[in-house]
Amino acid sequence: MTLVISLKTKDGIVMASDSKASSEITSNDTVQKIFKLSENSAVGIAGDGSLAVYFLDQVKSGLNYGTGILDLAEQIRVKGKEKFNDFFEHLVPEKRPLLTLLLAGYTTDKVAEIYTLRSTDNFVPRKAVTGFKCIGIPYIAEYLLNGLYEDEIKLESGVAMSALCIQETGAQNESVGGPTRVYTFSSSESFKEVSPSDVKKLKEKNNQFQVKQKSRFYPEDQDAGTDNPVS
């Protein structure tokens, strides 16, 4: 399985994912799950890895990126539905594999938006009503983001927060793992990947966050101890 996260920050959009792929016949930790669409838009995919990549290759060609993220989502819906029906016309809908896309980018007015498009839903774009969205195995990440995320978050903190969510999910669910990949972009800054060494530093910092949580459960007993301890 997979965890892909997208969150909006004051200075741009963060997209992050794990890298683990596993199925009955294959397992590795180097799978790309987030793909650049344009300088200011990207898509993350959860579902069967090889199908996802092939599907995306088919859908990407001929997209018009200059008309805003909602229009881009609509273009993907139309092509996605068509391609998916082509791929699996021999299967009834409930027997078809699941594919979920997490699409993030900007409107023509430079407003950040995030959409999910699901194969089970004919890829109808669903706009994220909070500033973040997770696909794949979202539960732990959504729990954390519900408690930690604020609209005013800065890009670098959003990067750290998304890395934390993937780290925590990976610690609890073996289906999520491998190197964490984090990408950023904005209406003025092009899509780029956060370096693995920076992600590693963030993870170390996140360990301190976890540590702080633990100490909250073990307060000192204020009545215990003696005035003159002896060895």
Binding site: Q208, V211, S215, Y218, E220, A224, T226, P229, S231
Partner: protein
């Protein structure tokens, strides 16, 4: 795992005057801060062969742990608790035990220790 019984002090306000009263002997200690809920939460643990000198260093500008120094400089209701332990390996083992138990925010690395003993933490 072998256990040892140690004798902990009460919570003592963390200031130079109180630290000056400590002996120049070995032991283990932990720092805590009173939070809004009225509880003291441990944020740093340690051990030393000279408790007084070590704790004076911790609250001075010379403290090399910049996170700890910065946190203490913010001010607040800080306290400490200590226990006298002469054996250096036992000191290290108890420091590591406290590190694992309290997960203190300003201990940056897990203390290393070759001795496997456990002590009462209160």
């Amino acid at each position: 795992m072998p256990t040892i019984e140690i004798n902990w002090s009460k919570l003592i306000p963390l200031n130079k005057e109180n630290i000056e009263k400590l002996p120049n002997t070995g032991g283990v200690y932990r720092f805590s801060k009173k939070e809004k809920d009225g509880h003291y939460y441990v944020f740093f643990v340690g051990s030393s062969e000279d408790l007084k000198e070590k704790l004076l260093s911790c609250i001075s500008d010379k403290e090399t742990n910049t996170g700890l120094r910065g946190y203490l400089s913010l001010g607040g209701d800080f306290s400490f608790r200590y226990a006298l332990v002469n054996d250096k390996k036992q000191q290290e083992a108890i420091e590591r035990q406290m590190y694992k138990h309290y997960a203190p925010e300003y201990n940056l690395v897990e203390p290393q220790c070759s001795l496997d003993v456990e002590a009462n933490l209160i």
